[in-house]
């Protein structure tokens, strides 16, 4: 008898458990597909790494020690060769200035010595203040499977950043980004003991400067985000451990979005503050991978959904400056699933977003307040958050080290110990704008709220 009773109870609870579980009666909608975010990691076994050294005469100063100042150039470049060997299976070394030339194996070790940057050709051929930085980009475009590392002072004159010359840089860059590759820029403040050429004067012409003791150099990496991050991480761990070492990093990419949060079901109930306190609260993922918050609420509840920036934005990238939320709201007079009769509301903008340094906050039902809704009805809200426009974080990162041509002479006259990079901010802006052109609005997260509005 007891066994029968227990069996009956079990069946009863299983039956009601199933009935309860099937309480899902969402309206019909087409959920936006999760985008394939991220890096096109070519798994090719034969992955070459190409390293290009800027051989312009201004680079020589990095190789000469400055008493009392840490020479990071020598250490970093020495190690970079080792890191490059780890990233790819074969490494090719080149020098670039007026043209690109391969570096013979026995001369590779000389890149950290002043002799490497001396010009031995005829004076007319020795125009090695000219840096044809676009050439490695052009090669990267032709062979996107490789990883390209460019070591340069990135001291580009304004004439190199306009018209056809600029096109020579942006065109291959566009193609590189289109193929899912990214460009990482690591700026390192190093000791400097030499001459900086080509500083533009206000009245025209150029002037040189020899008093600088510190000056940033740059390692530009073209490749997969994974490799760029690996190189950056290695350098960071090995060389930039001292708090006094100044280095900056920026990632130029057409995909500054790290991931879609729904794909790996990263959204939890904690993403909406205090929601778990609501009556009859439940949090589930639908079969489509949509997180659904179910609850009962009164009109006073604040629904704040927030995402940490580091969960969605690629570190070091431009970030996102504009978001768009695709919103839909359905209403049903009947709250029970059996009688549910969803009607799609006319509301298009229901919530409001804001972004701080750390997080993206979405105030759900800010534009269309819960007060505008009718009590006693059931509501189903679907919000799809898209990254709409890339940001400008990387420009801001490098602003400190940048000098405009119009200010260069005055800056030089102040006899600075730490010299800045000409047009750096502009270069980053140009690179970013190319990346932004390739940017596609990307779905970051989709959420649903299924709630009854009570008294």
């Amino acid at each position: 008898m007891v066994i029968r009773f227990v069996s009956f109870l079990c069946c009863f609870f299983i039956f009601f458990g199933i009935s309860y579980a099937k309480e899902d009666c969402n309206p019909e909608f087409q959920l936006a597909k999760f985008p394939s975010i991220g890096q096109v990691d070519s798994e090719s076994e034969d992955k070459p790494v190409f390293i290009y050294f800027d051989k312009s005469l201004s680079m020589q100063g990095y190789t000469k020690d400055q008493p009392g100042v840490n020479n990071l150039y020598i250490n970093v470049i020495d190690d970079l060769q080792q890191i490059a060997e780890n990233v790819g299976n074969k490494t090719f070394y080149h020098e670039f200035g007026k043209s690109i030339k391969p570096i013979k194996e026995n001369k590779i070790s000389q890149v950290i010595k002043p002799i490497f940057y001396e010009c031995t050709d005829a004076a007319s051929e020795c125009n090695n203040q000219e840096s044809k930085i676009h050439l490695p980009f052009k090669i990267a475009k032709a062979n996107p499977d490789g990883t390209y590392i460019i070591v340069t002072d990135l001291f580009l004159s304004s004439k190199q950043l306009v018209g056809g010359t600029l096109n020579q840089l942006t065109k291959p860059l566009k193609s590189i980004l289109k193929k899912g590759k990214s460009v990482g820029i690591i700026g390192v403040m190093s000791s400097f003991n030499g001459t900086i050429y080509d500083i533009p004067k206000r009245e025209g012409g150029t002037v040189s400067y020899t008093e600088a003791q510190k000056r940033p150099f740059y390692i530009i990496i073209i490749g997969d985000q994974k490799e760029i991050n690996q190189i950056k991480k290695n350098l960071e761990e090995q060389h930039f451990t001292d708090p006094e070492d100044k280095f900056k990093f920026s990632l130029i990419t057409s995909t500054p979005i790290l991931q879609n949060l729904n794909e790996k079901k990263l959204i939890t109930e904690k993403y909406i503050k205090n929601i778990s306190n609501a009556d009859s609260f439940r949090f589930d993922y639908s079969d489509q991978g949509l997180p659904v918050y179910k609850f009962e609420t009164n009109k006073k509840r604040k629904l704040n959904f927030s995402i940490n920036n580091n969960e969605i934005i690629v570190q070091g990238s431009t970030g996102v400056s504009d978001f768009n939320i695709n919103e839909k709201l359905w209403v049903s007079q009947e709250t029970k699933c059996k009688k549910i009769n969803w009607k799609k509301s006319k509301f298009e903008t229901i919530s409001q977003w804001s972004q701080t340094d750390n997080k993206l906050a979405v105030q759900l039902f800010k534009e269309v307040s819960l007060k505008k809704l009718f009590r006693g009805m059931r509501y189903f809200y679907l919000g799809e958050i898209y990254a709409q426009k890339p940001g400008t974080i990387s420009e801001e990162t490098f602003r400190e080290w940048s000098i405009r041509p119009s200010d260069a002479e005055e800056f030089k006259e102040g006899n600075p110990v730490e010299f800045k990079t000409l047009n750096l901010e502009k270069i980053i802006r140009i690179l970013n704008s190319v990346a932004n052109d390739e940017f596609q609005p990307t779905l970051i997260a989709s959420i649903a709220l299924d709630f009854n509005l009570t008294k």
Binding site: L329, K343, S345, K346, F374, R375, G376, M377, K455
Partner: protein, 189 residues
Amino acid sequence: MKNIIQSIIYGLVGLSIFGWFSVFITVLSISDPGPDSYIVGFFSDNIMSSERIENLGFDNFAEISSSFFTTLFFHMNLTLIIITASTTIGWCIVSHFLNIDAPGKAKIYAIHWLIVSAIFIGLVFGITWYFTSSTTYPAAEGITTSGQWLLIFMSLLIYVVPYYLGVLLGTARFARSSVLLANKLPGGF
């Protein structure tokens, strides 16, 4: 006792001259007038906020009128009918117990009647206000501010006029001077 019963009957007759209308709309409410009825159309045009309702995805008020009429409107009218009938009959009975022992004294009781009437009007106002803005009735949320005032005005009209006619006819003959214009009624009535 006979006079009291007679007063109650006269009071009910006075009430029913216009009071049938409130009974009619109460019965209509509980039976759900349906989306195509005149009353739903009237409420949709004058009382409810079409914009709010349509924004929520409903075609018009008719689509959600059922819960409005079968709960809010029915409960409100039923309450008002009970209050109106109770006040009217109550006054008719009480008027027989007024201490009118000298000519002209009945007029003093006009103050009492005015106070009772004011309380009654206040009750009608308050009950309509409560139902049209209460959180107990979700359907009340679609009512606009102007719609709420229109409903209050209509309630006053529908329930105060029958009340007045009820007390006009039902007040004890010797106390008629206390009720406005009741002394103009024929002496044999």
